[in-house]
Amino acid sequence: MKHTLSILVENKPGVLTRVAGLFARRAFNIESLAVGLSEDPRLSRITIVIDGDEHPVDQVTKQLHKLINVLKIRDLQPDNSVSAELLLVRVAADGDKRTDALQIAEIFKAKIVDVDRRALTLRVVGTNDKVEAMLELLQPLGILEVVRTGTIAMGRGKG
């Protein structure tokens, strides 16, 4: 099962290296990682998605807690959190394919952000499932390039 960890860290040089380095040192695989400033400019928030079947989440969390610059870690559950990721995808769209691509974009409320004779670039924001579903539908048309931000997530309500 996938786990989304929301990690509040001090916004200091080298902190991301420490977090990423810990995953390397303990041989934990990262599925995705996103980092940015939090509501407090002295703090950053890192969202990491890991496969909980492969590594005990408990052990990952405890090791993270040992880093001096890590202040708080939440293991966000799907039923009480919201999550999203942003995807840019360039898909082949010449001839008949163009209509298909536009239809898929419409269904997923993706925005067309670039276009030329042969291809379209779509931008979509959504949960990991939604992004994956759109990629699957675009696959037969020919995906030329994919860039994704990785999941960011937040607890619901007052958290």
Partner: protein, 574 residues
Amino acid sequence: MTPDKKMKGSQALVAALEHEGCEVMFGYPGGVAIPFYDALYDAKKLRHVLVRHEQGAAHAADGYARATGKVGVCTATSGPGAANLVTGIATAYLDSSPLVAITWQVRSDLIGTDAFQEADITGMTLPIVKHSYLVKSSADLPRIVHEAFHIASTGRPGPVVIDIPVDIALGELAYRDADSIDLPGYRPTVKGHVKQIRAAAKAINEAQRPVLYLGGGVIAADAAPEVLRLAELRRLPVATTLMGLGAFPETHELSMGMLGMHGTVTANYAVHECDLLINLGARFDDRVTGKLKAFAPHARIIHADVDPAEIGKNVEALIPIVGDAKHVATGLVGELEGMEWPAERTAEWLARIAARKDEFPLHYEDPKDGKLAPQLVIQEIDRLTAHDAIICTDVGQHQMWATQYYTYRYPRQFISSGGLGTMGFGLPASIGAKIGNPDKTVVDISGDGGFQMTMQELATAVSYDVPVVVCILNNGYLGMVRQWQDLFWNKRYSFTCIEVQPDFKMLAEAFGAVGLLVTEKDEIEPALREALGCGRPAVIDFRTSAAENVFPMVPAGQEITEMIGGPGNKGRKS
């Protein structure tokens, strides 16, 4: 409060170290370290010991820390100097030793340009430090030093690196002693949860076959008196790890000695058969557990550790307690004192353990090649120092014999690289231990392989008049690897024979130390008496038998019942 005083960063560092109570540091100068060494030249309280190689500085500081319980401090210049500390920092990390390593760095504006003697030491040490700093401003120095000492010495101790660019040492600041700590992300839990302690006490009270399994955490938390009280209160048989040697007196009737790969038959079978295993400050290391699935198969497990990440890492505990050994043992004693307990509950168990101690003592035979039995040499060191010396070791067979044949009675008496297994640790660590305990006899038990890795530190011992006694168990082999080749690799002794080596007696004399050679049994005592009594650094070259192996032995990854030299497998001795 001291008024702010204008000074340079280098002077502020000396002041801050002195403020932390640092009396001695071990180091080696170099280009970008010159400003600091210039300030050190005027230091009134802080003493600096010049080693002969930076690795020696790290091990000496580590040995000082382990022997005294205080923070050990070492320093080295940028690039190669700092890189030479790495093995020592990793050694301290794996054994949770409080070390502060100060490295010097090229000028801030040169960082990243591949400048002369530039190395990214904070990057290189990232996986082997508890924390590290790259100092950005001279004004931060007092705070960073204060934080570094706090982090290194509290919770689960460990090494902290402070990397200081040379311009920070030259920059001016208004110095004031730092006394407050603001580390929102660092709050170690030292007090165990009352409910968990109560549950553990209940389990201890009910157990019919309990075993107390002690690790280095007991020594780090200064918990030996509380643990002794706990063991005596419910007559708990005690097994210690290598790092835990000295946490419980081996002269005590409840002591079963060390457990694990080269542990005693009694300790290992007690763990195998117990119905309750009480782990205080140990980490279920693979050298202790052997095959994890078969470890303590009948036991309920209590695991108390100050590091929550250790709990559940290797073995699932029925009753986990996050807290240090001192608080937990005190709490357990408090609970148990209020409970009824019939002594006959564990009587059968204690009788079984006593019988096994009689049946399976550690033993060895006189080597057939006429050379010295290494075990005998250690027994003689034990006898002639009256179980009272601080023993430092390198890594390998001699280290295991030192665990088996010396009698440890008090914490911080046995100083050895347990986790990382660093050859060359012994001599520099013994120098640090002796400097920290000038009134104690300090003996470094080493092998001919390990000694040659850091033997240049004899010059340090001689120049600072640090009278450590180095006992080399010289069998002309890298003995532990040879032992594995002997037992598991068809006696193919690939590159483990090191018969061509210096004459250690002459070598010691060349350094200005006392050198002695012992080849016969009856020379052991006079040589040891001379070395122990001469008041100078001394080296004794004991010519021991290469055919001797360390037994008992649980082969790596096997069950305890597969022990060579144990009840189920007596015959497989070499």
